[in-house]
Point group: D2
Chain length 155, copies 4
């Protein structure tokens, strides 16, 4: 956490946390592509050990769910940026610390074939306690592989 | 697939497929604990790279979702065993091949602290096309960490 | 059913079924606004007995869920029109007969205040067995009140 | 609201609110059967105008969703009773006032045939902001018709 607090800048801290400081994100190799208030994008490369079938080379449903969960969480946090930007940096990180998934729905639409995947997260509602987001996962050919909806605690 | 077809026994094939032949399951180290017609159990050990937070040592929501998805899928398949047990072995494996998640809901109830976790899957409905399952994830202290509901294609 | 089969035209039959022949739809007064292959729209007027709170005049969550379910079902059916338009009329009605909701998620985003509401349903995926749809409910001021996702059996 | 505040007793107030003061609940005729801290039960009679199909006499998916939503909300509120029982009565009603559905999933397992239906709601988690509940709908023959999961704001 000290390394994060030394950054002094929330956007850099968020990149560092999502890509480096959350071990399972690092294992998956998810990368933050862009963060805007209403919309965020993440990327993940296909890898042999992400395959979820014993015959077909398709993304495991758990990888899909993981990436959509992370993307929804990032979108939820991005939705709070406007409200917290006046706070001191360590309080901003404290807020970020409290972000948590309440629930997640994933709909698997097409076999997860692709060289890489882009996950997009949108805010549907940002309240004082709860944010609701929608997520989409497209493959490198821009085919829609899966969608999701998540509820997150924010504060 | 050839290695699987050489087994000649569906239950052994299912263990082999879930634990060894699905790469992402192997990466996670999920183990099949028991398979009964109405209920299945899987286990997963906590590992440093499964952590989902930059401060707290808790299971990543994506690992939880992955394990619940796999467990629901196994429960759905176990629910079809009675119907397919009269079929030749290679047709049984073909049926297994067609198993797919339609959608998944995960509810994160408590921080995923634990040395290992047990996921249980129950059949709620088994139809000719679609199975519906409920799943639970408990930690080594039998604390309920998360629950899920999934719809799966079966045939 | 005889009255429906006398129509000889699927689109008129669908209007008749949704608005008149499904008793609970008639109780709610839901109206089909438009049916296109990828997108359908329904309307419902606010009424005193639709209120879901003991203090505030907001739509009951059950009315919202009902309208989104119906709209998703109509979208799912509309998605099959292309495939079944070559069939004889009574077989088209048979297909329609088999339409069923597998599961539904509803996210309540804002208090359901409004004079009337428009529900929109989109197809995300149309398979041989299962269709997946997304739905939105806007009020008369075009404020997004709720969203939903549904899985439906089609055949 | 004045009528409610005159009761001076939370349990009687909850019955009054759920059965009489929420107009759509009254339209559906849902009755509170029992309220315990971890589990609540509601009942609803089948009626001609609850039918959801143009051929078969089955409960409309929207009625099912409505009853499960109400039952989950009651379970969520019942889960807070222990925490709020020391508060003055009008503050208890204020808390109740803030109860709201965040999201709801319904799984339709079997055709909703029955003379009457019993909905049961269980608390899975009760936090300071959010409660998570599971619900089941059985018919008069104790057949499981549908299940649901809901997240609710509590305070």
């Amino acid at each position: 956490m000290k390394e994060i607090l030394e950054l002094g800048d929330l956007e850099r801290a968020v990149y560092l946390i999502f890509e480096e400081k959350v071990p399972f994100n690092r294992l998956l190799g998810v990368k933050v592509d862009s963060i805007e208030e209403g919309c965020v994008r993440m990327k993940i490369e296909m890898r042999d050990d992400f395959v979820g079938h014993f015959v077909h080379r398709v993304l495991h449903g758990g990888v899909t769910a993981s990436v959509l969960d992370v993307t929804g969480g990032l979108a939820a946090f991005a939705g709070t940026l406007e409200k917290i930007k006046h706070l001191p940096f360590d309080e901003q990180v404290q807020r970020f610390n409290k972000l948590g998934t309440i629930d997640l729905r994933v709909d698997y639409l097409r076999p997860g074939q692709g060289q890489w995947f882009v996950a997009t997260g949108y805010i549907l509602r940002i309240g004082t306690k709860v944010a609701v987001t929608r997520m989409e996962l497209h493959n490198h050919n821009n085919k829609l592989i899966a969608v999701g909806t998540g509820a997150y605690t924010v504060s």
